[in-house]
Point group: C2
């Protein structure tokens, strides 16, 4: 078993209103089973999700539905937040890199819908049954550096659901459900790069993960906060507990004899 | 820019004492710049890191240096812990899948050292300047499913350090440092699979990430807990705060008039 990932050369600078499907279909040849990994930044540009850099802080606040953790550092405050798309990361996905001077980019409003529109367009233009993943670059708890993950998906199985299957020694793989979409996004980053200006990669040879356009999107990867052991930063949770404990002890009044 | 990942067929069941470098060199052809991604499980087997399944709970306790979070569920308690290797995950990496009946596997004692020994052996046997990554499958906060990550590395740049470089529009990429090793581990999972019995993959075409054997290993990916906003589960941090706040209020005594 093997596959190949190619960076797609020659994608021009994208502007609001551009037809991304036509641009991508014109830059590479697509076959049944190919999976496109597209940096969400160019989708944001095509969808006109651009605001003035001066409005960055306001944009972050506007995109935030929940503050998960904050950290003071020399350069200011980092806010780890859950954004409108349900993704947890720094600055709500509002990004100044690779955006036109004086502007910042917001994430697509509905990345799964954007991926579906792109996959639909590519399938119509090329006749090839392809899948689409929209990627973004995020930090993560416990580990330094960033990895690209899937924030949108269409026509791709985002998980390889092995629950109930047997391993090579015949034992059941009770909880194993590799996140194919995140692994593909990370794999594609290795040819796209941040500084190379290559926003699209094609994965060839993993057609077994391609499926219908109505498969669950990348939203299905997000764990609901109430089921998440790390739904809040450790300092924030401690502070909340401290206040609750302090208030409770005061409400109880002096210890009874 | 493009690369290819191949699953290496024909790796036999590994037993304690087996020479993994010889086994892998015999199963595929290696060239300068190739990167091997090896499931840590077969390294554990070769190193004899096998204990009786009856001793699983004790093994988890023995491998744990810090409990990060716990969750009660129908089947018992899930412990998310930091293990001796510094990796945060469920069950301290003690794993029953793909291990001989009645046994569980512990992670290699020092995965970076194991990776270095394997890379040294492979370079000596084949004459090819290859890199080695040892992978394991882990869940993560905020997102469902698992991805393979790098728990050991040798002869590979684990990060692509872009800090200070410019993006395509000329702006500095202040904090961008993609974790190449984790992305490679995830990319390789897509050909290895859990049920396929293919524990080794070769990445061809990314020789720019291959380097000397004394490059920092995967341990350098681990963020020290004191710098980690999610060093403790939200419930655990809340409970700790609650007790501290309660005790503090009691120590202060009744409110002064």
């Amino acid at each position: 078993m093997e596959y190949r990932i190619e960076g797609v050369e020659g994608i021009p600078e994208i502007a609001p209103g551009d037809d991304l499907a036509a641009v991508i279909a014109g830059a590479t040849t697509l076959d049944d089973g190919d999976i496109l990994v597209v940096t969400s930044k160019i989708v944001s540009k095509a969808e006109g999700r651009i605001v003035r850099a001066a409005d960055r802080e306001q944009a972050i606040t506007g995109e935030t539905v929940r503050v998960v953790a904050t950290r003071q550092h020399e350069g200011g405050v980092t806010r780890i937040v859950e954004n409108r798309q349900g993704i947890i990361g720094a600055a709500a996905g509002v990004d100044a890199s690779n955006s036109p001077e004086g502007t910042v980019l917001l994430l697509p409003v509905d990345p799964d819908a954007s991926a579906r529109a792109l996959a639909t367009g590519l399938r119509a233009l090329t006749g090839a049954r392809v899948g689409v993943i929209l990627s973004d670059t995020l930090g993560r708890p416990w580990r330094e550096g960033q990895t690209d993950i899937a924030i949108g998906a269409a026509g791709v199985h985002v998980f390889d659901d092995l629950r109930g299957q047997a391993d090579a020694s015949g034992k059941a793989l009770a909880v194993t459900m590799p996140c194919v979409a995140d692994q593909l996004a990370g794999a594609a980053e290795l040819v796209k790069g941040k500084s190379a200006g290559v926003p699209v990669a094609v994965v060839r040879g993993l057609g077994r993960y391609v499926g219908d356009l109505d498969l669950p999107g990348a939203r299905s990867i997000q764990r609901p906060p109430e089921r998440d052991l790390f739904r809040q930063g450790a300092d924030e949770a401690y502070d909340e507990g401290y206040r609750a404990g302090f208030d409770e002890a005061q409400a109880e009044g002096p210890l009874a004899e």
